[in-house]
Assembly symmetry: C2
Homo-oligomer: 314 residues x 2
């Protein structure tokens, strides 16, 4: 069996559209995934910015099934499948592997805090053994500001020794470049693929052996992020990085990122329902949305082809 090429480049933790009654909307979801693919952006569906943990396992599997049914390419997907329980993590992971997804992005179990490293080794080992599929590629998800429980170098080392094929890489959303550098230096040469968790670290990541980024902002600014990914060795890479940061700052400095991203999609698609978020989050107020629209316009931001792709997908 020859292994499929690893997924690399720019991926978006795809925002999940909810109807007025807060049910997930597969039609809008498929449309947004199609637009992202048209911008050369991979699909890290069910990430933190997807409000994945605000959905049940069944809701997440139904959305993935809807993508498959709409013939969206699973080789461009890395669904989030890490839950607090081995049973749910195994169920979601097996479902993603069965569908031929390129990999899965796996949170550690995040309810208990201060758990021993060997307890996490035990968790991931159980999941890998139970899924029991040679196609499984796990990207460990390190996001201590949210999950609190994190991925340590010691954990990666132990897991890579046991499961050199299944443990494929990680997403580092620590927001701490020194941490990313530690993982890159220790593991990148052994084929452990490190994605930076924000495009603000994309250039630094690529210069140090990284393979791309899985970033919230890729939901709205995918083409420009992908351009830097492809041209990071070019003369204007630093200028491109700076331009990406301006867009990110506009969305994240004053607002809760998820709500701002959905407001932006709503603004540029002209579809009010896209702004809905599930509790415990709150949508931007009408005033904030108007303000954000002005700020994005002022920096020359656009989402080219969004309306057209949505119309075609409808």
């Amino acid at each position: 069996m020859t292994a499929a090429p690893r997924i690399k480049g720019v991926l978006s933790p795809v925002v999940t559209p909810f109807r007025a009654d807060l049910s997930p909307d597969p039609k809008r979801f498929v449309a947004h995934c199609k637009w992202l693919l048209s911008q050369n952006c991979g699909l890290a569906v069910f990430g933190t910015n997807s409000e994945a943990n605000s959905q049940s396992s069944e809701e997440r599997m139904a959305l993935l099934d809807a993508l498959v049914e709409a013939k969206v390419d699973t080789a461009r997907m890395m669904p989030g499948t890490g839950c607090c329980s081995i049973t749910e993590t195994v169920k979601l992971t097996a479902h993603a592997v069965k569908h031929g997804c390129a990999g899965v992005l796996m949170l550690p179990p995040f309810y208990y805090k201060g758990v021993p490293e060997d307890g996490l080794v035990r968790h991931f080992s159980e999941v890998i053994e139970r899924v029991g599929d040679a196609r499984l590629r796990i990207y460990l998800y390190h996001i201590p500001p949210v999950a609190v429980v994190g991925i340590t170098p010691g954990l990666v080392e132990k897991l890579m020794k046991r499961y050199p094929t299944a443990i494929a890489g990680m997403k580092d959303s620590s927001g701490d470049w020194n941490n990313t550098k530690t993982f890159l230096d220790a593991f990148a040469k052994s084929g452990f693929d490190v994605f930076v968790g924000s495009e603000s670290f994309l250039l630094a990541g690529m210069r140090n052996g990284g393979v791309g980024t899985i970033s919230a902002t890729a939901n709205v600014n995918p083409a420009a992020i992908d351009k830097l990914y492809r041209e990071w060795q070019g003369a204007d890479a630093d200028v491109q990085q700076q331009q990406l940061n301006v867009v990110r700052d506009a969305l994240s400095k004053k607002y809760v990122m998820i709500s701002a991203l959905k407001a932006a999609v709503s603004i540029y698609s002209g579809d009010a329902e896209w702004a809905n978020v599930r509790p415990p989050l709150l949508a931007l107020t009408a005033e904030q949305k108007t303000q954000l629209a002005g700020e994005l316009k002022a920096i020359g931001f656009d989402m080219p082809g969004l309306k057209e792709t949505y119309a075609r997908a409808a």
Copy 2:
């Protein structure tokens, strides 16, 4: 419709038995619940010490169904039903209410951190509206050392105004007496029932308008805790409190509490499988278990009637 009397006193976040393959074991679970009831201890099944979040919704509902089938009194139950998603929280809560449970212990959605108070109001409101059952009694679960997201006085005030019947009280596992005192002073007189999250605060809680405790240690030391609950106005209450603390310290100072509790049940029942925990936790090592057995013996600890009740339930 006359409301049922509120559940009060001592409740145990019942430890969940797992077989060697880590599947939940309804038979051992029913047996332990029957022993706890025989000690006058209520059943806060699916709490933190129950490894509830290490189980899927389906596994939790199956265990509750098993208790109902075994005719364990649901009027003595307060199942934990708070998940990160409204869909799962509603499903578990409706299931518990349908079975006639006295109340539910509800964690706030704990994935996103730093969420606004109004986002939590929105979450709990959605759950109450969707369950839509006048019998619903919610006990808000404040356990910031684990869930990080907490219950604030402002949140309680807003929810009690909107849902004076559904919002029945809280469990405070902050480990901070000043915090418990704040809630007692602000809300106890309005019929908001505060359970302290550890029996080490039981006497202080009762002296300040509390209604009891929901405590991990009640899994193994229920009768002595219940004795102080009933005799807190007695002359030897302080001595009783001190004796409870000795047992708690033996289980929690050197060990991870959940693993130590299960080891204790395993020791006193003579049933090795009771020591199993799900990842990310680790069971005590054989050496630790022997050490704990010695330490419990040295303080004269016992679990009277455990073997007999287990044998009868089998």
